[in-house]
Symmetry: C2
Subunit: 335 residues, 2 copies
């Protein structure tokens, strides 16, 4: 059993940066990717931060991700733009698209960038945090490889297509970052390793029954959409809209390849700076105040808004260091 | 036990129109509301069509809905507009907002109308169908009175805030119209009346346990958000964004009143007419073709996309007449 060690954000960032430079990222790109992977880890989303970094480098080595690619504009229609990500790093393409959506929102009130041929954006919430902290409302989503069945179906035709909605709140942000599957692979793997029964149905077993057995679900590979038919429907629509707007690849097309790459994504920013910000602040404060007044079922658990837990994790990880499995860290240092 | 009778769409439309005229709707408004209530019923969404009509008129009589109100522009920021619905009929306000969002999308590529002080829009899908059949992608949602608890909470602080996403498909549309609650009140009431156990958890019983007993859920009034914490989070964010963008009332504010009124809604339209429509048609066809190739769990049930079932219901109801409970119909005729 390997140990968990604590790595400072500075050391993690520097280590990522140096590895990226070795793998043909130029200085700016290496700095930006290292920063996002580090921030994601500081925020406690290890599955899309430090624990994903080696896989990311592997995909660069296998040329599924091109570190030299630059996104290019395909079509501009006022506040709506289509970009091609040319299979560049998902983080860099998504940051660019978020920035463009904010520029378009500045100009048109609302801006939408649809991005084709990009790669996994890692933590989708990263772009929500960026836009919200810059004062925008953000709505964005990505398609993925097929990993869920349609409602009443056996085989995998739907992606778990993560959806992000974010808005500014008290110098920070409220950030919802949710995949359409009830649980992540990470959560299933953790429960399977600990031989724990899931609290809620997480997918189907190999005979097609709803299951709380993580091992059985990982074997069948059939994840459960949130809300059964509802999440399945939402997943389909998110894929359709992303594919149409970007003129990119659908879940179906992406799933023809062995490795997930060439995704389609949507980034919508809305400029609220010209609205009555004083009134908005009051109303948002009041909504969250009311929400926090919820009577908890379990007194030991606070009722938290999406993104709220991150603030405490961020502080702890910045103060104490980021917990990393020592084997994972050794591997990264040797990439 | 009262009988179900069949009413032709023409008769239903004329009956609604005449009742509306009696209740201070001018000719144009009466025609439009009658048309939407009829279309909704033809499409099989009786809970928001013929079965809701009497309640709608009651709210007009009680002055929660003002049939003479006209929406007015509060603020225009390029493709983003704020409108005040002045507590007019939700259908008329929502149609106006959908039309404005499409106009803004024509001009800016993407348009967003946020509407404050409006009323229940009946079937949210109506606006998705309108926009999609006019060639737009549509994303819209409404807040509601509080009817769901936050995750890990006992009391009701969240609305089931319906979300609509629609796009053009084969001269018709693919329309997702989903509330954030796993089941509607209508579905719970139907199961309770038939003493049927629900297929999935629909809410909580009065001791706070997840339940498939519709009667117990109706007693506790605690509906279950889709995907537990995920639907709860999405509900909160939809309310926050609708409230901010419209400068309208939040679920919390709306829930202070005895009767649900004065809602906040968002209507986003995206103009895809300047994109490559031939390519889009091919890619959408291929996504749906693949989706339809899903292997069904139950061979007797087809795997359908959101909105697909409506087409058959629409045809049947136009051919045979719309099924209505005779007591419901008698009441409407005497309004």
């Amino acid at each position: 059993m390997s140990e968990t060690i604590l790595i400072s954000a500075e050391e993690m960032d520097r280590t990522f940066y140096e590895v990226l430079l070795k793998h043909h990222f130029d200085d700016r790109k290496a700095r930006t990717c290292a920063e996002i992977f580090t921030e994601t880890s500081v925020d406690g989303v290890y599955t899309h931060g430090v624990n994903r970094f080696s896989v990311f480098i592997e995909l660069v080595e296998k040329k599924f991700i091109n570190p030299r690619a630059e996104p290019s504009l395909k079509k501009a229609i006022g506040g709506l733009e289509q970009w091609d990500g040319h299979l560049g790093p998902g983080i860099l393409n998504a940051l660019h698209a978020t920035g463009r959506a904010m520029d378009l929102a500045n100009e048109h009130g609302i801006g939408c960038v649809a991005l084709a041929n990009t790669n996994h954006w890692m933590r989708g919430g990263s772009y929500g945090w960026k836009a919200a902290k810059a004062g925008f409302i953000f709505i964005g989503w990505s398609n993925t490889v097929a990993n869920m069945p349609a409602w009443n179906a056996m085989d995998l035709r739907l992606g778990n297509n993560p959806l992000v909605i974010a808005l500014p709140f008290k110098n920070e942000a409220i950030v919802l970052d949710m995949a359409m599957s009830q649980l992540s692979y990470g959560a299933l793997e953790k429960a399977a390793a600990a031989k724990e029964t899931l609290d809620v149905y997480g997918g189907y077993n190999s005979t097609g029954e709803l299951s709380k057995d993580a091992t059985a679900i990982l074997e069948s590979k059939r994840m459960l959409p949130i809300g059964y038919w509802k999440g399945a429907g939402l997943s389909l629509l998110l894929d359709l809209v992303a594919t149409i707007l970007s003129s990119g690849k659908s879940v179906h097309e992406i799933s023809k390849h062995e490795v997930e790459h060439g995704l389609s994504q949507v980034f919508i920013a809305i400029d609220i700076s010209k609205l009555d910000l004083t009134a908005i602040k009051l109303v948002v404060d009041r909504i969250i105040e009311d929400y926090h007044e919820s009577i908890p079922v379990d007194q030991s658990k606070h009722v938290l808004y999406p993104g709220e837990r991150v603030l405490a994790t961020r502080k702890k990880n910045l103060d104490d260091g980021i917990p990393v499995n020592e084997v994972v860290w050794e591997k990264i240092k040797n990439l």
